[in-house]
């Protein structure tokens, strides 16, 4: 890898790390609280009864994810006319697919997939 290739991967990583460090440092300015009771209930808009978080139909997210996968492949196909090597297509495909998989997995675990 050349210095330029290293920066293509290293630049975004540097921003993520720097951002996370600053975010954690800034977090020391204010206090954080969590617990049980009225203060920690989601905003209801003045209504007395609020349904607890239940399972949801993940169809919408599955469609959105499939949409993104199709989009990624279409873009790679469209971009293939300028391809000089397999490195970047593979890098983007791997990175993109990993993020999509993690997000979908998380949505299903937290929300509870309803068949």
């Amino acid at each position: 890898m050349t210095a330029f290739d290293i920066m293509t991967v290293g630049g975004p990583l540097l921003i993520i790390v720097a951002d996370l460090i600053i975010y954690l440092l800034v977090g020391r300015l204010g206090k954080r609280s969590s617990g049980k009771g009225d203060k920690y209930q989601p905003f209801t808009g003045g209504e007395q009864e609020i349904a607890p978080r239940g399972t949801y139909s993940s169809e919408l997210f599955v469609y959105a994810t499939l949409f993104m996968i199709a989009e990624a492949f279409a873009l790679l196909l469209a971009g293939s006319f300028a391809a000089t090597s397999y490195f970047y297509p593979l890098l983007f495909l791997t990175g993109g697919s990993s993020v999509i998989l993690i997000v979908t997995w998380w949505l299903m675990i937290v929300g509870g997939l309803r068949p």
């Binding site: 210095a3 330029f4 290739d5 290293i6 920066m7 293509t8 630049g11 975004p12 540097l14 921003i15 993520i16 951002d19 996370l20 975010y23 800034v26 977090g27 300015l29 204010g30 206090k31 954080r32 609280s33 969590s34 617990g35 049980k36 203060k39 920690y40 209930q41 989601p42 905003f43 808009g45 609020i50 349904a51 607890p52 919408l60 997210f61 469609y63 959105a64 949409f67 993104m68 989009e71 990624a72 279409a74 873009l75 790679l76 971009g79 006319f81 300028a82 391809a83 000089t84 970047y88 297509p89 983007f92 993109g96 993020v99 999509i100 997000v103 998380w106 949505l107 937290v110 929300g111």
Partner: protein, 323 residues
């Protein structure tokens, strides 16, 4: 060499520079909106109130962070940082001092497109992590809106790539040395601005965070530092999308060459870039202030029935032009 690049990425013309542009954009947005509504806007913090967005940011960070009982705490607390990273990463691919960006490769436009998609997905995650009825309603709207504007946005961004025969943002900027792509693809520029408004959740597409309908949408449960970061991300997104429009359609920082000295010419390129950036930003502020919110079904219909065909017509025109 690498140390210099790292400093450029973190400070100038990278992240810190764009964050400040984002703050100034927020101030200009509020001033423009106030003027159009016969108000004065921010006036207290700094000269003409220009430091108001910075004051708001620090005020929010020092407030209490309340974590709702039903929230997914890990994503709720750390998600805003990742949400901020998306446009922050995009800024390093934008050429500011010449045709070459700090970081560039043959496929960086694809990377930027992925970042734009990831931003919407991250907002969905944050809303769902927070829980609450308003957030759940909001992310449904967000996903519908996202699937509507994503296709025309991509087509609008691929058009300059086709004209330049390059998927590198720096390559596209370099190809506009003689003629800006807004002249050859004006419809794509218009489509991009409309899609950018939807991406930024600004009127008339502020449907997922409509204050009068669903409180704060997916941001309802956020407070303190996470909310400050979400707002900062939106300001940075403003600056990033305007800079992307400048790079892809208005020749980026390129303009008449007046100096033989590269350092002086870089300063001139920087001035060209800033002027174009604020022109695009002002266009977005004016449109968003002048228009009222549409319903989600109207937005979906608009994107699928009008904006997408328009972007495809422009793409077809460009393909014929290239052929």
């Amino acid at each position: 060499m690498i140390a210099t690049q790292l400093l450029e990425i973190l400070f100038f013309p990278g992240l810190t520079f764009f964050v400040w542009i984002g703050f100034i954009f927020d101030w200009l947005d509020r001033k423009t909106q106030a003027r159009m509504q016969s108000r004065r806007g921010p006036i207290l913090a700094g000269p003409f109130g220009i430091l108001q967005p910075v004051a708001d940011f620090f005020k929010l960070t020092s407030k209490e962070e309340i974590i709702p009982e039903i929230a997914d705490k890990f994503v709720f607390l750390l998600g805003p940082s990742l949400f901020f990273s998306a446009p922050a990463i995009g800024t390093i691919f934008i050429p500011v001092l010449g045709a070459q960006a700090i970081v560039s490769n043959d496929y960086d436009l694809l990377f930027v497109l992925f970042i734009l998609g990831f931003s919407a997905l991250m907002a969905t995650m944050l809303g769902y992590a927070a829980g609450g009825r308003w957030a759940i309603i909001s992310i449904g709207r967000l996903v519908v809106q996202y699937t509507g504007y994503e296709v025309p946005l991509i087509v609008a961004l691929v058009t300059p790539a086709l004209l330049a025969h390059s998927l590198s943002i720096s390559g596209i900027v370099a190809a506009q040395q003689n003629i800006w792509f807004i002249v050859l693809a004006p419809l794509s520029f218009c489509v991009f601005i409309v899609a950018a408004l939807a991406e930024l959740e600004k009127p008339p597409f502020d449907i997922p965070s409509a204050k009068t309908e669903i409180v704060g949408g997916w941001m309802t449960e956020f407070s303190g530092r996470p909310l400050a970061y979400i707002k900062l991300t939106k300001e940075l997104g403003y600056a990033f999308l305007s800079a992307l429009a400048v790079s892809l359609f208005l020749g980026g920082p390129l303009g008449p060459v007046l100096f033989a000295d590269p350092a002086l010419q870089s300063i001139l390129y920087f001035i060209y870039f800033i002027v174009k950036l604020f022109a695009v930003g002002f266009l977005i502020f004016t449109i968003k202030t002048a228009l009222a919110r549409v319903r989600i079904d109207q937005a979906a219909r608009l994107f699928w029935m009008v904006i997408t065909p328009l972007s495809l017509i422009q793409l077809g025109f460009v393909m014929v032009l290239r052929w």
